[in-house]
Subunit: 206 residues, 2 copies
DNA sequence: ACATGCGCTGACCGACCGTTCAGTGCAAGC
DNA sequence: GCTTGCACTGAACGGTCGGTCAGCGCATGT
């Protein structure tokens, strides 16, 4: 059942689902900026303009908020990129789309992305991180598959596939450490420029 | 005045300077593993087998320990790489040495490196971070200069120099997220393999 | 023999952490 | 009009945090 329309007219207080999204949004920004341990439940509640207790009404604990942010981001990144891969394009073109689509995802969901990629990988709380790693592995598996196909098609040289995938992923994953949204190229453009450099190399043709 | 020789015979307790090095070493490992906020003074003291109070005998506070670890690492990285650049080699060869030397530094001072590169860049405590950023900027300025020289010498194509530098640095800086010291190639080899890929590109020659 | 200096400790501090809980106010359903 | 249910709050909990402090043991210089 949908909420009655009168609820929507209410100017100040939001619906429960909206509230959860607001919390996740603010939490993503704070986790990305200050890290997991550097972000307190009080920080999140104050950023949302609510009491600390309300966080526990919507989520069981801090870990769940963090898991929702990072798992959601990692899972959606995979589908976001996968869904944009053109089925009938040349393999190397699909690699390029992989990179630019990742740049686009970064542009749209910057805070959740940063929170996910900077999350410590060896967190003792492994149960919740397990699923995130699963999607991350699928994402990395995807780029490896694309590289292999490009090699088989003769477009790429014979390459160390895992290492090549890591080179591509490194360029994308490190972007958040220097990228400033207000200046310079947009992330998809940056990814495209990286793509040109990596595909063709730095060395001048002789 | 040097310590008298009798002091050295003491089997259990170390000299003050040794203690400081031990503390910095253990702190680097913990900061790298669990982050700044995830590492308590108690963690550091227990890792060293000493009391928490002793940390404050050698350092003023937690921030100073962290600053010593990260600033020391960043400053030494610059000199470590700079000192290894061959003066009379071709520009592109100097770029390669920049990368492999960075890989060698990573291999030797892994924990301090990780603590430095994962340190939050927008820490409110800016006074101490200022000097670290200075060395980091010099380090990045160095690779940009090398790239420019390679372009001027006609070895590299005309390139977006800052972006090219970031591509190279990204590949090196992201290594700690997937590198496992006990298996696979050593970091200098990895840097060299990256170098081959970035120089010559992925695309097969036609 | 005595004073000095230093590496070092255990007890302790206030602040803040994540988390809990009893209870409030208000809209919806009967 | 009354009950139900839920978004929401303020006070409080035990625990851990970074940091302090008085003082101990012992090698050293005189």
């Amino acid at each position: 059942m949908a909420r009655p329309a009168t609820r929507i007219a209410s100017p100040e207080s939001g619906d429960g689902a909206e509230r959860m999204l607001q919390i996740l949004s603010e939490a993503a920004r704070l986790f990305a900026t200050n890290g997991y341990d550097g972000t307190s439940m009080r920080d999140i509640s104050e950023a949302c303009g609510i009491s600390k207790s309300l966080l526990y009404h919507h989520f069981t604990d801090k870990d769940e908020i963090f898991a929702k942010v990072t798992l959601g981001s990692t899972r959606e990144l995979y589908h976001f990129v996968f869904d944009r891969l053109p089925a009938d394009a040349r393999p190397s073109e699909r690699v390029r789309v992989f990179m630019t689509a990742t740049g686009e995802y970064f542009q749209r969901y910057r805070w959740a992305w940063i929170a996910s990629t900077t999350a410590f990988w060896n967190d003792p709380e492994q149960r919740r991180q397990k699923e995130r790693m699963m999607w991350r592995d699928r994402y990395e598996g995807l780029i490896r598959t694309l590289i292999e196909e490009a090699i088989e098609a003769g477009e790429f040289r014979p390459l160390d596939v895992p290492l090549t995938g890591r080179l591509i992923l490194s360029s994308l994953n490190w972007m958040h450490r220097w990228y400033k949204p207000e200046k310079g190229m947009a992330p998809p453009q940056i990814a495209d420029a990286y793509c040109d450099m990596i595909f063709n190399g730095l060395v001048a043709p002789r």
